[in-house]
């Protein structure tokens, strides 16, 4: 039996796939631990999960405050802030905790989320093999490839931090998607395992008795960002008011039409089998969870990897893309009616679902991780 250490940032979407893969490894009798922010990890992992602290509550609160500022930025300013104010400082902050965890837990392999730069750095110093958990597939093809000077700037930052480009492991990169969504040629180290959804822990309650018959749509827009977020959400509410669908919307309470069930959080994975379509900003997890259930999508990307993820969905034929900052209620309604009423969207989503099934999920990820230990 082997020992696997997952290094993760304090972000739910980045912890979730590791919860699944870690759960599969535990079920096979391996020893597994996580290092990150204990408060973020606790609700997402089993009660008896081994967790080492690398981020305290103060730093986590600081990261959340920074994130608020980050959400107000646009264009290339997002990229600059992301690297200079978030990724590199977070990497530095996590190094001592990750080093302690490596010393105490003595893993055979370090599995680092692609936004946990302390993982590769500490593993490198300890002479341990490290692999990448790619929580989005959007960066496998370098999004900065058309801007060589910006790309060089990122590589300089990484060199300053770790002495090399540690964005992806050359041993194994776990990608929770499939070739049905991600086009391109990749090395053998890149493993498209599909979304890892088994062994996942969802502790949020849901009022199941409030689901009505008929068609249901989930609206999941992530953290609402400022006036643009409020504007889009209001357009969605107006769009669905006179549609014959039940809408489950993840947002803070506010006045809404009677066919909208507004909740601050939902057990998203458990809800998926009860849905007919999903409206989302294009977070990688939400999109792939929906497609794993054969659900067509309306995607209104905001920033980061979301435009790339939205383009993947459109290219696969599994959804319609909207412009987040400018879409009107009429646009939202027509997009939603298209994906609900035109069967080709659901058929395309079903094809992606089949490709995910074939990819193997957490089982395939665990197989690949075991091979890394075997050498």
């Amino acid at each position: 039996m082997s020992r696997f250490l997952f290094v993760v940032p304090p972000l739910t979407g980045h912890v979730n796939p590791t919860a699944s893969v870690g759960g599969e490894l535990l079920a096979r009798g391996h020893e597994v631990a996580w290092v990150g922010h204990p408060g973020t990890l606790a609700p997402l992992l089993p009660d008896d999960a081994v967790v080492f602290p690398a981020i305290d509550d103060l730093l986590e609160a600081d990261i959340r405050t920074k994130r608020e500022r980050w959400l107000a930025l646009r264009g290339m300013a997002v990229v600059k802030f992301f690297w200079e104010e978030f990724l590199i400082p977070l990497g530095h902050a996590m190094v001592p905790g990750v080093a302690d965890a490596v010393r105490e837990f003595a893993p055979d392999v370090v599995v680092a989320d692609q936004q946990a730069l302390a993982g590769p750095l500490v593993a490198g110093h300890a002479g341990l093999p490290w692999v990448t958990s790619a929580s989005t597939s959007a960066e496998l093809i370098n999004p900065l490839r058309t801007m060589p000077k910006v790309d060089a700037w990122v590589r300089d930052l990484l060199h300053g931090f770790a002495g090399g480009d540690i964005r992806f492991s050359d041993r194994l990169v776990l990608v929770y998607s499939s070739a049905a969504l991600v086009a391109g040629e990749f090395g053998e180290e890149v493993a498209f395992v599909g979304p890892a959804l088994t062994h996942r822990v969802e502790r949020v309650e849901f009022p199941w008795h409030r689901l009505t018959g008929g068609r249901r749509v989930l609206v999941s827009l992530g953290t609402l960002n400022g006036p643009a977020g409020e504007r889009f959400l209001n357009q969605v509410l107006e769009a669905v008011a006179d549609l014959d669908v039940q809408v489950i919307m993840v947002a803070e309470p506010r006045p809404c039409p009677p066919n909208v069930l507004m909740l601050p959080s939902v057990p998203q994975l458990a809800l998926m089998p009860h849905l007919d379509a999903v409206i989302t900003h294009g977070g990688h997890n939400t999109v792939c969870e929906a497609l794993a259930h054969g659900l067509p999508l309306v995607v209104a990307p905001i920033r980061d990897d979301q435009p790339t993820v939205a383009a993947q969905v459109v290219a696969a034929g599994a959804g319609v893309r909207l412009t987040y900052s400018r879409a009107r209620a009429a646009d939202v309604r027509s997009a939603l009616e298209s994906v609900l009423d035109e069967p080709e969207y659901a058929a395309a989503a079903e094809l992606v679902r089949e490709s995910f099934l074939a990819a193997g999920g957490a089982t395939a990820a665990a197989d690949r991780l075991e091979k890394v230990v075997a050498g």
């Binding site: 264009g75 290339m76 600059k80 000077k149 910006v150 990307p301």
Partner: protein
């Protein structure tokens, strides 16, 4: 008003949709990031228009810039680039 500036402003308006530019006059100083908040898909649409109209490659133009230059990219700078090319 400079003819190229007028045409570029018109293309931006077409890409973004006139409703969203109410109260925003596109001048040489208007920035793509902060002022217009051009989304990636709109950026691609604008690049297509520029290419069709002037044979100017917007991606190649940006490829030469560092991150601060891209952040500060203004309509005026694009207009100068086009004017120098055509």
């Amino acid at each position: 008003m400079d003819e190229v500036l007028r045409q570029v402003a018109e293309m931006i308006t077409e890409v973004v949709g006139p409703d969203f530019l109410l109260g925003v006059e596109i001048t040489r100083d208007t920035t793509f990031s902060d002022d217009l908040g051009l989304e990636s898909i709109e950026f691609v649409a604008l690049a297509d228009k520029l290419n069709a109209h002037y044979g100017v490659d917007l991606v190649a133009f940006l490829a030469d810039m560092d991150i601060d230059e891209i952040m500060a990219m203004s309509v005026g700078r694009l207009v100068d680039h086009i004017t120098a090319r055509v």
